[in-house]
């Protein structure tokens, strides 16, 4: 793996994992209406 490939992979995975976990956590924790 080239350095550029690692950087792209790490940056993209970090963004996607962050938003996926964050939003799903908010769904789980949202108060019932």
């Amino acid at each position: 793996m080239t350095r550029a490939a690692w950087i792209m992979l790490a940056a993209t995975w970090a963004v996607i994992a962050y938003f996926t976990i964050r939003f799903f956590w908010m769904v789980l924790k949202a108060p019932k209406k």
Binding site: M1, A5, I7, F19, F23, F24, M26, V27, K33
Partner: protein, 544 residues
């Protein structure tokens, strides 16, 4: 019509919508598209498209759905009828029934292959019959014949349909939602196991010719020149569009079972990002790294040259798993199992709007509606099974699984933003929201998303052979526009081949099958419109 059906839990709803979006393309199409269009650089237009097309469309569809549900409509014709005063709007909504029905016809067939491959992986069929020989035999293909009569494939197809109808007949909470709650976690676990196993293959293992990281590098190594190529941007926008299952009518339907003040903004964002997680993190880490490890980079580059990993997924991977010893049947079952879960959560989402249409507008009971969906899907699916070698399947995929989605998304965004109005539209999206929706999306939905969708539509309409620069040069030099055979215009007018219905020996040709398929699809669309017309006429009669 009073309705008691609804979602059992919010998590179940998000998993069901994510399951609708996660399909076979997440594992078979995305890695090939990324590798072919700039590698890591593809991810930049891909994520930009997700923000400018994907997320806005998700919010628009959830908003149209919840708004329509308030009036007792859980399918697109009724929902669209409530977006504006003109009686024609409900007919645009009919596309949301037509697409679900026709895509389900051929999609359930592919889904049945994955189920059959789970079975054959477990019983070890691929040890004795190489998958590339097994596949045409399974499909009943014979050289130079337009017809196929595959006994085994037909049986698995029927079994898959029965499973879909049974789950749908159990209702939303006990059927669709339960299937998503079981299928989605299993899909993620199977994907994670295969990705870890594939990426950590020890050097010197039997059959290994490269490190799997060479394959990962093929997917991720950025080629900055790709960013300047319009084809890369179009491919990225197209991938985002198709991966989210927007433009079908399914998301509208699922959202219609929410209450007036239930959140839609966070639910939509969560389901959308979950799809991205499965596609980019899992989908990008299985197929190409494993295939490269055993076949070498050059073979994988050739296999994915058309932007699809379908051949690698069905013809190559089952053979490569045999290198994994005792784990081979488990790996095969996991790979095709995850594809099956990806498929069934999507096909259920195609069935629900059709059932809702029958239940709401014709007061058909749920079990009966599920049976009607199963019967029509079986009819359309068997047409694809029978005429698969003649090109019926590809024709279904192009007109209903590709073209119709873009047209429907374009129409719905325009009606939502410009007819229903962004004032009311924004209120609909943000009402009851459990997250703060950035205000800039109001303008993105009104101006940017429709423009980009129009751009995708026009690009598909006049896609040239070769690159766009050369096509423009050809046009300005007075040589005309070189329409590609797979552009909408090229397809419509049968470019790139001799057009005739019968060959010299009087046998039907591929063009005959293609035209017969189009007649069938046009008849289904006309049928959906006639049913809509009939339902509203009957309702008007009752109101008098």
């Amino acid at each position: 019509m009073a309705r008691t059906e609804g979602w059992g839990s919010r998590t179940g709803l998000v998993l069901a919508v994510a399951g609708n979006a996660v399909g076979l393309g997440n594992f078979l199409r995305f890695p090939a598209q990324a590798a072919q269009h700039g590698g890591g650089a593809f991810l930049i237009p891909y994520l930009v498209s997700f923000v400018l097309i994907g997320v806005p469309l998700l919010w628009v569809e959830w908003a149209i759905g919840r708004h329509g549900g308030r009036f007792g409509h859980h399918s697109a014709p009724g929902m669209f009828d409530r977006l504006g005063r003109h009686p024609a709007y409900k007919y645009f909504g009919t596309l949301g029934i037509f697409t679900c029905l026709t895509v389900a016809g051929y999609y359930c067939y592919i889904e049945s292959w994955t189920l059959a491959y789970v079975w054959h992986s477990i019983v070890g069929t691929f040890k004795t019959i190489p998958p590339d020989q097994f596949f045409p035999r399974y499909l009943g293909q014979h050289e130079a014949s337009l017809f196929a009569l595959p006994g085994e494939a037909a049986c698995w197809f029927l079994l898959t349909l029965v499973l879909n109808v049974w789950i749908l007949s159990r209702g939303l909470a006990k059927g669709v939602e339960l299937a998503a709650k079981i299928g989605m976690p299993l899909l993620i676990v199977f994907g994670a196991v295969l990705a870890v196993r594939g990426l950590t293959l020890p050097a010197g293992s039997a059959g290994l010719v490269e490190s799997p990281l060479v394959g990962l590098n093929f997917v991720w190594n950025p080629k900055p020149s790709g960013l300047l190529d319009p084809t890369t941007w179009l491919a990225a926008a197209g991938q985002i569009f198709f991966t989210l299952s927007v433009g079908m009518g399914s998301i509208h339907c699922y959202a219609a079972y929410l209450k007036e003040n239930d959140d839609i903004a966070l639910n939509a964002a969560s389901a959308g990002w979950m799809n991205e997680f499965v596609e980019v993190i899992l989908g990008g880490s299985i197929l190409i790294p494993i295939a490269t490890a055993y076949l070498g980079l050059e073979a994988v580059q050739q296999a994915t040259a058309g932007g699809s990993g379908f051949g690698l997924g069905f013809l190559t991977l089952p053979k490569l798993f045999l290198n994994w010893g005792w784990f081979a049947p488990v790996a095969g079952a996991m790979w095709f199992g995850l594809l099956f879960f990806a498929g069934i959560t999507s096909s259920l989402a195609m069935g629900q709007p059709v059932m809702a249409f029958l239940e709401d507008e014709f007061h058909v009971a749920r079990n009966k509606a599920a049976l009607v969906f199963g019967a029509v899907t079986a009819g359309l699916g068997f047409f694809c099974v029978w005429l698969y070698p003649g090109g019926a399947f590809d024709e279904f995929d192009f007109w209903t699984g590709t073209f119709s989605l873009v047209v429907f998304a374009l129409i719905e965004t325009f009606i939502f933003a410009w007819v229903f109005g962004m004032e009311k539209g924004w209120d609909e999206i943000t009402r009851g929201a459990d997250m703060k929706v950035p205000r800039v999306f109001r303008y993105v939905i009104q101006y940017v998303t429709p423009f980009l969708l129009l751009f995708i539509f026009l690009a598909a309409l006049v896609k040239p052979t070769g690159d766009w620069g050369a096509a423009l040069a050809s046009l300005t030099a007075g040589h005309g526009w070189p329409f590609a055979a797979d552009s909408v215009i090229g397809k419509l007018f049968h470019f790139g081949g001799t057009y005739r219905w019968f060959d010299a020996a009087g046998r039907g040709t591929r063009e005959l099958v293609v035209d017969l398929t189009r007649v069938l699809l046009a008849a289904v669309l006309a049928g959906c419109m006639a049913l809509t017309w009939h339902a509203w006429r009957r309702e008007r009669g009752r109101a008098r």
